[in-house]
Each structure stands twice: as C-alpha cells, then as structure tokens.
C-alpha cells in the first residue's frame, strides 16, 4: 500500500464532529483517496475495512503528529478519535459474524419485515410532533446547589489580582510541546499545593518558589482555589491588605 502526505488543505468536519486527520493519501486495491475520505466512506458503509490494512495508516498518522509538536491539541485529539473509530470498526469487522460461522445452520428470516412497521412509523412521528408542542421544566434546575463560600472580607477581585501578580512573574512557555507529556491530575496538584500551604498564613509570592510558566501557575492556582472551595485551605486579608493563604485550622 502506498502512502503519501498531500499538501495541507482545509480540514473536514465530519458528521461525528471530528476534525479531519492530515491529508494522508492512501492507495491500495480496495481504496484510493485521502484518510478523511476513507473515514467518510467507512461511516457511510461504502468501504469494507476488511481489505484495507490500518497499520501503515496509523503509523503514518502518528509520524505526522510527532513531526508537528505545535499542532492544535483539540484538532489532534479529535483526529485521534477518528483514528480510534477506524480501528474500532476494523476490529469489529474482524470478529467472526454468527451468520458466517454458522452458515449451515442459519435459517432464513421469515418474520415481519419493515413493511409491517410503516403504519407504526407514521404513528410514532405523530406522537413525536405532538410531544414537540409540549414544554417541560428544564432539568437544569436539578443541578446540585452549592452553598456560597464564606471568604470574609476577601473578594473574588482580590483573588483575581493575586493571580495576575503571579502571572506577571511567569516565564515564557517552552516553544515545543511534547505530545504525551504527563500532566498532574488536579488531585495530585492539590496535594502539592497543600504541602506549600503548611505552616503560618503566607502571601502567594512566598508560597510559590522557583520559576514557573503561565500554564503551571494557572494549574497551581486552580488547585489552590479547589482547596479553598473544599474548606481545606483558607484565605484571609493581612494587616496591609495582602492575601494570606494557609491550610484550614492554622
């Protein structure tokens, strides 16, 4: 099977909301065209994946990603989803189907065909139209109600200004982003922040040491806010109006 990278063209937005993978041209006996077209054809059941080897396509696609570390993460994740769909369909296709396995025992279907359901379909469509004329209370009202946090004299604007002050100290983000770089979960980050908060109430610039990027400090601050929300940490106003953070109970 021949593979080649075609020139960059506009990205295809598929029916599942998937952003197209790169324009990898595929040429084999069963199919000739771009990867995006292949996914479209598979979705529309116009191509049998049985005849198309997926390994070289996946390899070419992964190589493409590795060569472009600055690629938009949303596009890449959506496109990976598309590839996963292809792999899933292929795996499904490779499973033995009962009618092939038990060909000798298979009985012809002599039950009611679709024609028997035509009057029902009309009836259901009428029910659907009738229902569309009724409106009910929105399920949004059922969202869990959260008691507002009591932060004393500290306002959201104070917290915002504290974050802005930290962001000003942030160093530049690295220009290359490695795919698959492990990132801490919020729970892990909260443990780290909790360790920093141990001891007497301190201002933010004393809690955060060393260099940090904007992404890192945003993640750090988010964990701090989550600790405050869970009442595991507290924030108070100092004598000079500065924000002091500590673990609850200090």
């Amino acid at each position: 099977m021949a593979l080649a990278l075609a020139p960059e063209t506009s990205r295809w937005q598929g029916p599942l909301g998937l952003v197209a993978p790169p324009e990898i041209a595929i040429q084999c006996e069963a199919f000739e065209g771009s990867l995006g077209t292949l996914i479209k054809c598979v979705l529309n059941q116009k191509v049998d994946l049985w005849d198309i080897p997926l390994h070289p396509i996946c390899q070419a696609y992964v190589d493409y990603l590795l060569e472009r570390p600055d690629e938009d993460v949303d596009s890449v994740s959506s496109a990976l989803l598309a590839m996963a769909y292809l792999v899933e369909r292929k795996a499904f296709r490779l499973l033995p189907l009962p009618e092939f396995v038990e060909e000798d025992d298979a009985l012809p279907y002599d039950g009611p065909g679709l024609e028997y359901y035509q009057p029902v379909l009309l009836g259901l469509e009428e029910c659907f139209e009738e229902r569309q004329r009724l409106f009910f209370r929105s399920a949004d009202a059922r969202e869990e109600y959260e008691i507002p946090l009591e932060l004393g004299k500290v306002t959201v604007s104070d917290l915002g200004r504290a974050l802005e002050a930290l962001l000003e100290k942030a160093v530049e983000e690295p220009k290359t982003v490695q795919f698959g770089r492990p990132r801490r979960s919020l729970a892990e980050q909260m443990k780290i922040v909790a360790r920093c908060l141990d001891g007497a109430p301190r201002p933010l610039d004393q809690l955060v040491e060393g260099e940090f990027t904007r992404t890192e400090i945003l993640w750090w601050f988010l964990a701090l806010l989550e600790l405050i929300r869970l009442s595991a940490a507290v924030v108070v106003l100092g004598d000079e109006g500065e924000l002091l953070f500590s673990l609850a109970g200090h």
């Binding site: 009611p112 065909g113 259901l124 004329r133 009724l134 409106f135 399920a139």
Partner: protein
C-alpha cells in the same frame, strides 16, 4: 384539597415524571388518593397555560400545546429530529424488545449498528442484558426517555400494529 396542593407543589419542582406510587409513598397516602388528587389538579389547571400530563409512567407539568409556537420563539429549542433509519430501529426495538441488533438487522435488511449507536447516545434505547445464545449478544429495549420523547405514558400506549406470528427459537426441537 391540601393533598392536591401538595401534589401541585411536588410536580412543580420535579423536572421528570413522578409516578403515582412515588407520590403516594412520599406523602404517605393511598395511591388511589393520589390519582383522585391529580384528577382534581387537572380540573384546577383547565383555565391555565400549564397542564398535568401523563407521560413516561408518571405525571408532569407541561405547557399547553397552543402556546408551543410562542414558547418556541422564546426558548429557541434545538430540534434534533430522528433520521429515518433511527426511527426504523427505534420502532423495531419498541415492538420487539428485548431484541438484539442482529434481529433488528434481519427486519431492516441492512446493518443497524450506526443508528443503534446514535439511539444509545440519545438514551432512547438501553441495554437490557444479554441473550443466552452463542455469542451472548446484547439485548436492547426502549428507555423512559423514549416514552417521554414520544409523549407516551407507557409501552401499552404505542400505536397498535399487527405483526404476523413468528416461531421463536425456543420452539425449535
């Protein structure tokens, strides 16, 4: 009359159908009292823009159909109409449940995995278990969401259909 008011209050805050049994258990009254109170509530609402509807196995407040256009302009709801293939699969599942996807395929004569997946995503069908046949295929049935979307109180309220009798596998010697 107090029971009618209590039920009115509960149905007002409920965002999904509440059955007579649930209301009876919660209010610690007989189910027949609830049914009678709901009927009284229906009469009380006759001159109002909202009504009590029996849907998906319970009672729920809804607006009256004659205000549909006005409310539609106000809320601008997105109408996700089902495709023809989804409707076909849904009808077969509704009348033949519990049913496997292979059985749905057999009726339609084409593969139904994509429409079935869409229906699962929309929670109109759900898995009921597995059929005790080779491969243990998944059995599907319709959900309460299906009843709600089609304004049905229960599966008994489905439009009638006359299907020819089919010999089931169990009857094979």
């Amino acid at each position: 009359m107090e029971l009618v008011r209590q039920i009115e209050a509960l149905l007002f805050v409920a965002d999904e159908p509440v059955s007579a049994i649930e209301l009876a258990q919660f209010l610690d009254v007989e189910e027949s009292d609830v049914v009678a109170a709901v009927q009284a509530l229906e009469q009380l609402c006759e001159d109002r823009a909202v009504q009590v509807v029996r849907i998906a196995g319970g009672y729920q407040f809804s607006t009256r159909p004659r205000y549909a256009e006005m409310i539609g302009r106000f809320l601008r709801p997105s109408r996700n109409k089902l495709t023809r293939s989804q409707m076909e699969v849904l009808a077969i599942v509704a009348y033949q449940q519990p049913v496997t996807i292979a059985e749905v395929d057999a009726v339609r004569g084409v593969h139904s995995d994509h429409p079935m997946r869409c229906l699962l995503d929309r929670r109109l069908v759900h898995e009921l278990g597995r059929k005790q046949t080779p491969g243990r295929p998944i059995l599907y049935g319709t959900s309460e969401q299906f009843l709600h979307l089609f304004n049905l109180e229960s599966l008994e309220a489905l439009p009638p259909v006359v299907l020819p009798a089919v010999d089931s596998d169990d009857s094979q010697p």
